[in-house]
């Protein structure tokens, strides 16, 4: 069934979008991520302009991360204080990101920036995940115990001033890196249309040494609020959020996520990380081809920002 999208201004097959929502939702539930890094490229590949795709996916992620946040809240598996601190940086980052987004759109370099950011970010993160999980799998095969990540070791991050104690996470760290991480996540989230969960989780674990059981819930809260804020900002400044598209994506996404999380519990965590790593890498490579190969069409036409 064809449905006309009022903001993207083109008709799409409703079932195709619903299936995409379900599939990405399944994957996001399985890995405990928002799935924006998959959804945004998929929308771009089916012909929706990158700008509308990015802005609309933020709405979709707000919905799916709210579902996650509620679930983790019920289990008390999140740290509100840490989330609040991350958020301070996150909202600033989102504001800056939306501003840069508008600027890049005006000078015609938004698509390139989105492509390059995806390539660099997904390429790096994907490779790291694949290498790390393959090592973990080999180690498990050899019968050695899993590497213990959380230790008493201190890095330069722990020497920074403005220290604060986060009770739930049982950490005592400076607020500077917390703000910094929040800013980075909010910033790239607004530009790339991703929640940033797959970046935030390792950052919190490795840099701030937050316990693993607290990390996902806390990251969900941060994602929820930055994405809700990004939706409002994108809607208010660029008028690009397509509610009809977002609605279909949300319904598919939250449903798929439920099945995905059940499937995820049956797979071993290092294998899960390997799969996710390969997926991330594949999306990154797809962008790489798009940037490096000579495009069939060198010209593009778009409406200029003019009096309407």
């Amino acid at each position: 069934m064809q449905i006309y999208l009022p903001i993207a201004e083109l008709p799409v097959n409703m079932f195709l979008i619903l299936v995409m929502g379900l599939a990405v939702g399944f994957i996001s539930g399985m890995f405990g991520i928002g799935g924006g890094f998959l959804m945004t490229p998929l929308l771009i590949f089916i012909g929706i302009s990158p700008a509308v795709a990015v802005a609309t996916v933020t709405t979709h992620i707000a919905a799916s991360s709210f579902t996650g946040a509620i679930t983790y809240w019920r289990r008390r598996a999140l740290d509100p204080a840490l989330a609040l601190m991350l958020l301070t940086g996150g909202l600033l980052g989102t504001t800056a990101g939306v501003w840069l987004f508008s600027f890049l759109r005006a000078v015609g370099q938004l698509d390139l920036t989105i492509g390059l950011s995806y390539l660099i970010l997904l390429g790096t993160v994907g490779s790291l995940m694949v290498v790390e999980s393959v090592r973990a799998i080999i180690r498990a095969r050899q019968g050695k115990p899993a590497e213990i990540r959380r230790g008493g070791s201190h890095t330069w991050i722990h020497g920074l001033p403005l220290k604060l104690r986060f009770k739930q996470s049982k950490i005592y760290v400076s607020t500077i890196p917390v703000w910094g991480i929040g800013f980075v996540i909010g910033f790239i989230g607004a530009i790339m249309g991703i929640g940033g969960g797959f970046l935030l989780v390792p950052m919190l674990i490795y840099l701030l040494r937050v316990p693993t059981n607290i990390v996902i819930g806390t990251s969900m809260v941060l994602t929820l609020i930055t994405m809700a804020f990004a939706t409002i900002m994108h809607a208010a400044t660029n008028h690009l959020v397509d509610l009809v598209l977002a609605m279909i994506l949300m319904v598919g996404g939250v449903t798929g996520a439920q099945f995905g999380s059940r499937a995820g519990q049956r797979i071993r965590s290092e294998q899960l990380r390997l799969l996710l790593g390969l997926l991330v890498l594949a999306v990154g490579l797809r962008f790489a081809f798009g940037l490096v190969l000579q495009p069939e069409e060198l010209y593009t036409v778009r409406a200029a920002e003019g009096p309407l």
């Binding site: 083109l10 008709p11 409002i232 939250v254 940037l291 490096v292 010209y299």
Partner: protein, 258 residues
């Protein structure tokens, strides 16, 4: 300018001198308001028309020719060209087209170059090659040569999207004076007012012209969503967020396992 005025005065005088001798065009569209609903997948309008003759009209040996030009709402557009920079293809050069039609259809009963000569084609802007597409060149606004690569790419891309079209056989004569032509509107035709300009030719000269218009507009939820997004951005964003939260919350209720 002065020459134009003289021509206009001359035409007016001629029209007054022999009103009975000229042909008149009478046209009608199948639909003057085309609505875009949630199931809109393009539309085909039909233009009907007749050449009105009277007793004083001289016989035309070569028969009549009609060229219909449909012009969609105008908007500034930018054409970008990609170039390879450090191994990556980036949008390097751009040209801004000032207030060009977002939709353009040229429909005729036979190839336009056989209907009128090149001089008149240019003056009347007949066909995609002759339509004015002014570019903003360093503050100056002018149309460039026909084989300008940006102009050619612009027209080619619009044609590929079905938003610009030139059809030499779309218009058919049902009788020597009664004609009809479909006006194909693609699914992503921009909303707004469309001008329909019908020109009648015989023996390489224009005999009459007639203009009308139709409107493409959004209805129902499409209209509500689009206008809310544009006019009440903040409110729209807030409700989108509220809606997202509701869906997220509903999911936890529906799928709650305990």
């Amino acid at each position: 300018m002065r020459r134009l005025r003289y021509t206009a005065v001359l035409a007016l005088v001629l029209a007054m001198v022999r009103p009975a001798a000229a042909e008149r065009l009478v046209t009608s569209l199948s639909n003057y308001r085309v609505s875009i609903g949630s199931t809109f997948a393009g539309a085909d309008l039909v233009l009907f028309g007749t050449v009105d003759r009277d007793a004083g009209t001289v016989a035309r040996r070569g028969g009549y020719d009609i060229v219909v030009t449909v012009t969609g709402p105008r908007q500034p557009m930018v054409t970008w060209r990609k170039e390879r920079v450090l191994g990556v293809w980036v949008n390097a050069e751009s040209r801004t087209f000032v207030d060009v039609p977002t939709y353009l259809a040229v429909l005729a009963n036979r190839p336009i170059d056989r209907i009128v000569g090149p001089e008149l084609r240019r003056r009347l802007q007949l066909g995609l090659d002759n339509i004015l597409l002014p570019q903003d060149i360093a503050g100056d606004v002018a149309d460039v040569v026909r084989d300008d690569p940006f102009r050619m790419a612009f027209v080619r891309l619009r044609v590929e999207h079905g938003l610009y079209l030139e059809r030499n056989n779309a218009l058919t004569f049902l009788t020597p004076t009664l004609f009809r032509t479909p006006i194909p509107l693609p699914a992503d035709a921009p909303i707004g007012s469309y001008a329909v300009d019908v020109k009648l030719f015989a023996d390489g000269a224009m005999l009459a012209r007639e203009s009308s218009a139709f409107e493409l507009y959004k209805v129902g939820i499409e209209q509500v969503v689009a206008s809310a997004a544009r006019n009440h951005g903040l409110l729209y964003g807030l409700s989108a967020t509220a809606f997202a939260l509701m869906v997220g919350w509903l999911a936890t209720v529906v799928f709650r396992r305990d």
